[in-house]
């Protein structure tokens, strides 16, 4: 789960990280009031859960409250990479001398949390990592010891931070790691962390991604989820306990297991079609869940055929078959459907599906081929 910039920064502030004294606005009028209160130049920043908003014109400097109001009016409602801007953050403009990158994330290969910093902040950090990896200083954090002061000093020294800023930096580094831990984050980054004209440090932009698996112990953070920026089908799927990602193709896929779901998507492509979605019904899915999954697939207007690939283990073929029939009663469809059921209760499942007049297949390759053929032969094509 991603947090907005303002949510991330307000969370950082709880851990002693200095941030600009800004506020969030949902209307030009609110933006005006906030800017007036700040009483100086402000930055109007679109709050969307996608990168590249600056280049898209979603971040603008305003010298007066009137200008802030006008800019907010143009930014609110703006479409940035498919996301509509619903809120803007009004921050006092900062006096930027230097820009640093500071982030905490998981290093999978090292099996540790890693803190990373670079003197080249404010720009695309992936770009820095790709072209000049030596400019990124990394330190791995022992889970039982936490971030030690000397590790923060190594980073400060590595990025050439002036000595007079070290104490402030160590406080920020420790705060960021604490914030990361306390939020069960998978990413917490400040980019840029700026050095101002008077030598103090300020986190002017921030980003956090939380571990969905740990949200059960963070009800306060769960409430911050912005479902308005999620495709409605993805929200429905999440609530039904399904894992769904919408894609651009024509073959709706329903599969048990993430790896097999990806392999099934890949197969449709290999045989000349394209997948409309990733959908994993999970292990042991029962009829209700299967019905919910089918409704989500059928709601996608691009879908021209549906491919069911179920390899029963914990999941039972008869349960899945019953779910499919249940959903078809509620949401009838003329779309061609290809079903491949293998494993636990496959015979029973196939017998149940016989009345739905589906195209059946024995192997994955045969199923994919038949789904692709069904799309190519469909009348709407």
């Amino acid at each position: 789960m991603k947090l907005h910039e303002y949510q991330s920064k307000f969370r950082f502030a709880e851990f002693g990280i200095p941030i600009p004294k800004g506020k969030i606005a949902s209307s030009p009028q609110e933006a005006f009031e906030i800017a007036k209160e700040i009483n100086g130049p402000v930055v109007v920043k679109a709050q969307v859960l996608v990168g590249g908003r600056g280049k898209a014109g979603g971040v603008k400097l305003a010298r007066t409250a009137q200008e802030a109001e006008q800019l907010a009016a143009s930014i609110l409602g703006m479409d940035i990479k498919g996301f509509a801007v619903k809120k803007v953050l009004i921050d006092p403009a900062a006096d930027i001398q230097d820009e640093i990158y500071l982030g905490v994330t998981t290093d999978r290969a090292a099996r540790r949390t890693v803190m990373m910093a670079s003197a080249a902040g404010g720009v695309d950090i992936e770009e820095v990592a790709a072209t000049t990896p030596e400019k990124i200083i990394r330190t791995h954090i022992d889970p039982f010891l936490g971030l030690l002061n000397h590790q923060a000093r190594i980073i400060a020294s590595g990025i050439g931070l002036p000595h007079e800023s070290w104490n402030a930096f160590i406080q920020i580094a420790r705060g960021l790691y604490q914030c990361y831990l306390s939020s069960d984050a998978t990413l917490a980054e400040i980019n840029p962390l700026i050095i101002t004209g008077d030598g103090s440090l300020l986190a002017v932009d921030g980003k956090m991604v939380l571990d969905d698996n740990a949200l059960f112990r963070h009800t306060d953070l769960t409430e911050m989820r912005d479902t308005s920026e999620e495709a409605p089908a993805e929200t429905q799927a999440r609530q039904a306990g399904l894992s769904y990602v919408k894609l651009d193709g024509e073959i709706g896929c329903m599969v048990n297991g993430a790896g097999l779901a990806m392999a099934t998507m890949d197969m449709t492509k290999l045989f000349g079609g394209s997948p409309a979605n990733f959908l994993d019904i999970g292990g042991g899915a029962q009829a209700d869940k299967v019905a919910a999954a089918l409704r989500i697939i059928l709601a996608d207007p691009n879908v021209k055929a549906i491919l069911f690939n179920i390899f029963g283990g914990i999941t039972r073929g008869d349960e899945v078959a019953r779910g499919i029939l249940q959903a078809l009663e509620e949401v009838p469809t003329d779309l061609p459907m290809v079903a491949r059921l293998v494993g636990t209760k496959e015979e029973e499942g196939r017998a149940i599906l016989a009345e739905a007049h589906m195209i059946t297949a024995n192997t994955l390759a045969e199923a994919a081929q038949k789904a692709v053929d069904a799309v190519q032969n469909s009348p709407s094509k």
Binding site: R108, P143, S243, G259, G313, V342
Partner: protein
């Protein structure tokens, strides 16, 4: 011969009285696995079918001489269950549970490494040595004994491959599901090394997916240290970057971890990579 589990495995089940634990215990016993007991805090002294239930893993281990534990405990209690098994001196722990927070797993892994305990998983289908022991949830009937070692990050996709192998008369030494999480107990290299050292294993199938760099590092290991042929399949060629594909691990992160990069790394060291899972038996015949 086999790796990790076999006829000598003496297994205890953590979470044996839960819905999943109870069901899969029956399945494992039916398969012929030597299940010697189970653990559910608060239910010590009870019996489940013929199996004694204990309150703690250490009591179970002491009474039964268990050398392996399998965990079917819900995600929020699973990390503690792993610590408990490690503390009780169980040398091999298999964790089926899906959804353990990453920060918990970082601590778990550091704790186990200090004690020299091997963990398989979490979020995995477990282990299966055909006709000897099934420690996990893989459907037993699809596998058959033979000389091919199978290692996979996925669950049902592993079944798909094992099923395709068995249908073509290609048996397996051991099938190992290492799990799809970003931080797990055992990676591809660990299992490849075991298969390389196992005299019965002649060929290896490695099933990877998008996310992380475990496959790329495995490719380097294959080039440096493996004499036995490895064939592979990587799931997720059509997965868009930045989107999570079910497994916590299956997400393409900022240009790394794509299927193309993994396939390229494997092919560069001579590993045959299948276009789809049902091609794997053909590739094994070709090497």
């Amino acid at each position: 011969m086999s790796i990790l589990v076999g006829k000598d495995t003496r297994l205890i089940v953590q979470g044996i009285t839960g819905r999943e634990g109870r069901f899969h215990t029956e399945q494992m016993v039916e398969y012929g696995t030597q299940v010697v007991g189970g653990v559910t805090p608060g239910k010590g002294g009870e019996w489940l079918d013929q199996l004694p239930v204990f309150d703690t893993v250490s009591a179970a281990a002491e009474a039964t001489g268990a050398n392996c534990s399998i965990i079917y405990v819900p995600a929020r209690f699973a990390a503690d269950a792993i610590y408990e098994a490690g503390d009780a001196g169980i040398p091999l722990i298999v964790c089926i549970t899906e959804g353990i927070p990453i920060l918990d797993m970082i601590k778990v892994r550091a704790f186990l490494d200090q004690r020299g305990v091997r963990l398989i998983g979490p979020n995995c289908p477990g282990l299966l040595t055909p006709n000897e022991a099934k420690v996990g949830i893989m459907p037993g009937h699809i596998s058959t004994p033979g000389n091919v070692g199978v290692v996979s990050r996925s669950g049902t996709l592993t079944y798909e491959v094992v099923y395709a192998l068995s249908n073509r008369g290609i048996g397996q030494t051991t099938c190992v599901g290492i799990g799809g999480d970003p931080i797990n107990g055992t990676n591809f290299i660990d299992v490849l090394r075991m298969f390389e050292e196992d005299p019965t294993t002649e060929q290896i199938v490695m099933i990877g997916e998008i996310g992380g760099t475990d496959e790329e590092r495995a490719a380097q290991f294959i080039a440096d240290s493996m004499t036995k042929p490895v064939v592979s399949f990587i799931a997720g060629r059509t997965a868009p970057p930045g989107k999570r594909m079910g497994h916590a691990g299956a997400i393409v992160e900022g240009g790394t971890g794509t299927a193309e990069e993994k396939i390229k790394a494997l092919e560069a060291v001579g590993v045959l990579v299948a276009d789809h899972p049902e091609q794997i038996p053909d590739l094994l015949s070709a090497v």
